[in-house]
């Protein structure tokens, strides 16, 4: 690998720009994503910037259990992000459709429609878990650009309390991770 490629990989890892998209979320994960940019968590230290346009973004952050209405929009926005790109599914909903499972208004989970690189479980996930997931996605981005290989999706460890007892796991925090791995 020559020097330019090394520099490019390093820059991709250090400058992930996000585009946030709501796929029918209850707004819990959206609030936590915004919280990860606020003074307490300050994701800008890693070079993270929340962009207004999907054209500018490297990482697509999707929340929510993917309703029928959202599928078309998600596919369009995924195509509008230019490569190299990565997708982070924030919360348990896009991974498993969570407590809304088998609802007739849903067409989830997310990886039925677009390739997902990182799952951040939690209902909602803590801001530090989201930052960890974004950092992991930035690593995948740099790796993918250099090797041109498809990378298997990564499930981040659960941080904090998880669903808070809303689903079958009873608040033990096992709900998201188990079902994705199964």
């Amino acid at each position: 690998m020559n020097l330019w490629n090394k520099l490019m990989c390093y820059s991709r890892r250090r400058s992930p720009w996000l585009f946030h998209m709501n796929g029918g979320s209850c707004n819990g994960c959206d609030i936590e994503l915004i919280a990860s940019l606020t003074p307490r968590y300050d994701a800008e230290q890693l070079g993270v910037r929340l962009e207004g346009s999907p054209r500018h973004a490297d990482i697509l952050c999707i929340t929510g259990p993917i309703t029928h209405n959202a599928v078309g929009a998600i596919k369009v926005v995924y195509d509008q992000v230019f490569g190299p790109k990565a997708v982070v599914a924030i919360g348990s909903c896009p991974a498993t459709t969570n407590v809304f499972i088998e609802s007739r208004t849903l067409d989830g989970p997310l990886n039925k429609h677009i390739p997902v690189d990182v799952f951040v479980p939690g209902c909602p996930p803590r801001p530090d878990a989201i930052i960890q997931g974004v950092a992991k996605a930035a690593e995948i981005l740099a790796e993918r650009a250099s090797k041109k290989l498809p990378v298997a999706p990564v499930v981040m460890p659960l941080v904090g309390e998880g669903c808070g007892g809303a689903c079958a796991c009873g608040g033990s925090g096992g709900c998201a991770t188990k079902e994705v791995q199964a």
Partner: protein
């Protein structure tokens, strides 16, 4: 100024070789200052450089026809005009210049904002068009004050040469003009009280919505170079004159840095105004001071 010095000033000092790192530095200072004032830690020192390199490595959308060619051309024109404006700054006191380079500098400073307007309209995106319309309205509003302020400074000192203006001792009238320039800078650089064209929460990224990859990198660079040229112009007019080379550069850089910090403080302390409030601010409040400045400059000129 002959061809060789002109090329040296455009490409080496204070042109591209020094201005591009300067632009990255200023973009970092702005982001870092805003972060510190919000109680955050903020981006690392090399962040604008990483952003630039990363954007260079991204794919670009296929652009076809005349519209596509124009869309590719606007960021390049903006960068070259901003670089030309930086090249005209009299950083070194003995660097020469020519009578009327102030007018050329003002014209070149205006080109990037024209390119932004054109880029938004040629992208055919609804958000881009709204952003361009806002930029056009904003540009009409602040430019009257901006040009009147420069004109009053030039008229009171009897010259349109930047190097001469930098050497002459400052009169009270010049401070009035510099104050008017400082009021216009947030609008020129799309900073917070007047960040209407790129209002993220309202119209995505405004005129830049459809841009990606290397083209967006060029827009970022042209924004940084605009920062360097605009703060450099104010620093030229406000900084005390010294003949010793290194000291002159140091004072120039220190003044630019101070102006960047001041603008960042204003940006982080204020919220975005609506477009009608902004236009009213420039046409009703600021214009009075600009007209006062130019009329007193002309009056003093006729008396002397």
């Amino acid at each position: 100024m002959n061809m060789t010095t002109a090329l040296a000033r455009l490409l080496i000092f204070p042109g591209l070789l020094f201005a591009i790192p300067g632009a990255w530095f200023i973009l970092w200072v702005e982001r870092k200052a805003v972060a510190l004032m919000q109680g955050r830690i903020g981006p690392p020192f090399m962040q604008p450089f990483f952003d630039f390199i990363k954007l260079l490595g991204k794919d670009t959308p296929p652009r076809e026809g005349i519209g596509g060619m124009l869309m590719k051309a606007w960021p390049l024109i903006a960068v070259s005009a901003a670089a030309g404006a930086v090249g005209l700054l009299p950083v070194l006191p003995s660097s020469g210049g020519f009578e009327g380079d102030l007018i050329l500098l003002l014209a070149l400073l205006e080109v990037p904002s024209m390119c932004i307007i054109a880029a938004g309209f040629s992208s055919r995106s609804i958000f881009g068009e709204i952003g361009s319309a806002r930029e056009a309205v904003l540009s009409v509003s602040y430019n009257i004050v901006f040009l009147l302020a420069i004109l009053s400074i030039a008229a009171s000192q009897h010259t349109f040469s930047l190097a001469t203006l930098a050497q002459l001792p400052a009169s009270p009238l010049r401070w009035l003009g510099v104050l008017a320039l400082l009021i216009c800078l947030p609008a020129k650089l799309h900073l917070n009280p007047f960040s209407l064209p790129n209002a993220e929460q309202e119209i995505y990224s405004g005129p830049m919505t459809e841009y990606a990859g290397p083209e967006l990198a060029m827009w970022e660079l042209s924004h940084g170079l605009e920062w360097v040229a605009a703060t450099g112009l104010v620093a030229t007019l406000a900084a005390p004159h010294v003949t010793f080379g290194w000291l002159a550069i140091l004072i120039f850089v220190a003044f630019s840095f101070g102006i960047v910090l001041m603008l960042s403080a204003v940006a982080s302390a204020t919220a975005r105004l609506a477009i009608d409030t902004t236009v009213r601010f420039y046409w009703q409040v600021t214009l009075i001071f600009a007209v006062l400045a130019i009329s007193s400059a002309l009056f003093m000129r006729f008396r002397s």
